[in-house]
């Protein structure tokens, strides 16, 4: 009897305010979807950071004939003695784990494997590529310090810190995440206000019924539950749409870029994000309904 009664009331309420209900569902879906995307980017960034940090290297490029870098200007190619001295200097640094020498032939192999386009490959010859030392660090956080101490050594043309390249890529993802979260917050705010309005309309439409319920001594829970349920059901439907949106994002965006990122976003993470957004969506609807009811449904 109880459940029956409450669900029929909820159904009537949702149908009477159909446009408002749809507005709530859409805002909750978009808001929670963006929140979820933000969370997914966040988990992607942290898993990528973990994956790449171990592999970060410093590439110490060496001077050759006609090197355009100012450090090598008018000095010609690095001599064998300089090369040996430089290697020793690098190896003597406390933060360095390992130093590998990459000659022009090996650099050309790597260049070919790097997926560069065929026109570029046909023009570039092994002699065009610089020799370099590949420096693996014990502690990736020290990369900048090591980079600074090697700068200006004789025969060094340029030092590329992979960490800085990664950081700019992560920085871009983090900006994307912040944007998604920012919009999500706005949408949550909009959803809260919309739910408040819907519940208010609902309470007004049913003031006769609630007035009688109050008089005959229906408990507050009994009077308020249909209204709260309306908000929660709208939130739940919005949450389902958000979940679909998140699954699409995983399949069509994250799985496309995963080729480059090497640390794929797992379905476990997606499931976790969906659960979190669902719960947040429903809780927001619950609170918004409750707060409005306290104002518009005097008990």
């Amino acid at each position: 009897m109880r459940a029956n009664f409450i669900f029929s009331e909820v159904w009537i309420g949702l149908r009477r305010n159909l446009t408002m209900t749809i507005a709530v569902i859409v805002t909750v879906a978009v808001g929670m979807g963006l929140l979820g995307i933000g969370l997914m980017i966040n988990s992607q960034v942290s898993s990528l950071t973990g994956y790449w940090t171990d592999k970060v290297e410093l590439s110490v490029f060496l001077c050759e004939k006609n090197s355009p870098f100012p450090a090598c200007k008018n000095k010609g190619a690095i001599t064998e003695e300089q090369k040996a001295a430089l290697k020793q200097t690098i190896e003597s640094l406390p933060d360095v784990e390992r130093v590998d020498f990459e000659d022009q032939a090996k650099a050309y192999e790597n260049f070919k494997d790097g997926g560069n386009n065929s026109i570029l490959l046909s023009v570039i010859k092994p002699e065009d590529l610089p020799e370099s030392f590949r420096v693996k660090l014990k502690d990736p956080d020290k990369s900048t310090a090591v980079q600074d101490s090697l700068k200006g050594q004789a025969g060094v043309s340029n030092i590329v810190n992979q960490r800085q390249i990664l950081e700019s890529a992560f920085g871009f993802m983090e900006k994307l995440r912040n944007m998604a979260l920012g919009v999500a917050i706005l949408m949550v705010l909009a959803a809260t206000l919309l739910i408040g309005n819907t519940v208010r309309l609902s309470a007004y439409n049913r003031r006769r019924e609630t007035g009688i319920m109050r008089l005959v001594g229906a408990s507050n829970v009994y009077i308020q539950l249909p209204f709260v349920m309306e908000g929660v059901i709208a939130g739940l439907i919005g949450g389902v749409f958000a979940a679909v949106l998140l699954i699409f994002t995983k399949v069509f965006i994250f799985e496309q870029i995963q080729t480059y990122t090497a640390a794929p976003l797992t379905w476990n993470t997606v499931a976790f994000v969906i659960t979190v957004t669902m719960i947040i969506g429903v809780v927001i609807c619950l609170l918004a309904s409750f707060v409005t009811l306290r104002r518009y449904l005097r008990v």
């Binding site: 006769r208 009688i212 319920m213 109050r214 008089l215 005959v216 001594g217 507050n220």
Partner: protein, 229 residues
């Protein structure tokens, strides 16, 4: 059953109190008319009994409970022991007679079997047998008020509050309404009725409490409407 001790009620933004140091006692099973001009405090009195309003000072006891000590959480339970009838009937237009009466039991969570048993009984008590499936709009004013009384009484309250129940009903029909109220009173229910209707008060010969400007100016057993000192 209803006990007012020096009760004063001043509404916000008003200087004059709606009730001014009112003390009155209504015993179990009594039938009391509350009379007086508009704005004399009759409705405020009824609202205070229901704890829809709180007094500014004084104590109110209803059905043995001190309303000041009754938490908001327990107010619904108080209201289950009080039936209410109004001038404007307050029926649900989309429900028929049976459903209107059953609604009062549904929303306090009574089992379906109980509802099926008691609702026809009370519909018969108010004299609407055979009309259980009519819609309110198909009924006369008097019949609608009977539905409202059935709804107020279906949970067997200890107290029945009636706020001008005959206000929208012609005198001939009003007699029928009063007979139903009298029948309810005879089951042991305390009836408190606010009214303007002098003919009814005079014919019933029950206790009369007269309010004027928020003060009790007369409390007379077996009284009449007009001044009868």
């Amino acid at each position: 059953m209803i006990h007012f001790d020096n009760v004063t009620k001043v509404y916000a933004n008003q200087n004059r109190p709606a009730l001014d140091h009112v003390s009155v006692d209504v015993d179990k099973g009594e039938f009391v008319f509350l009379v007086g001009p508009s704005g004399s405090g009759k409705s405020t009195f009824l609202r205070l009994v229901l704890k829809e309003e709180r007094p500014n000072s004084g104590a109110i006891h209803v059905a043995g409970k001190d309303l000041a000590k009754l938490s908001n959480f327990k107010v619904p339970h108080l209201r289950r022991r009080i039936g209410c009838v109004f001038q404007d009937f307050r029926l649900l237009p989309k429900k028929n007679v049976y459903e209107n009466v059953a609604f009062a039991l549904e929303v306090i969570g009574k089992p379906r079997r109980f509802i099926r048993k008691v609702v026809p009984e009370v519909i018969e008590l108010v004299g609407l047998e055979g009309k259980a499936h009519r819609m309110p709009e198909e009924l006369s004013g008097g019949e609608q008020q009977r539905v409202a009384m059935a709804r107020a009484f279906v949970n067997r309250p200890m107290i029945l509050l009636a706020d001008e129940p005959t206000g929208n009903i012609d005198p001939a029909t009003s007699i029928g309404i009063m007979k139903v109220l009298d029948r309810i009173n005879r089951t042991g229910t305390t009836v408190l009725m606010a009214t303007h209707d002098a003919a009814i008060v005079d014919s019933m010969r029950k206790r009369v409490v007269e309010l004027e400007d928020g003060k009790i100016v007369r409390d007379q057993s077996r009284g009449v409407y007009g001044q009868a000192y």
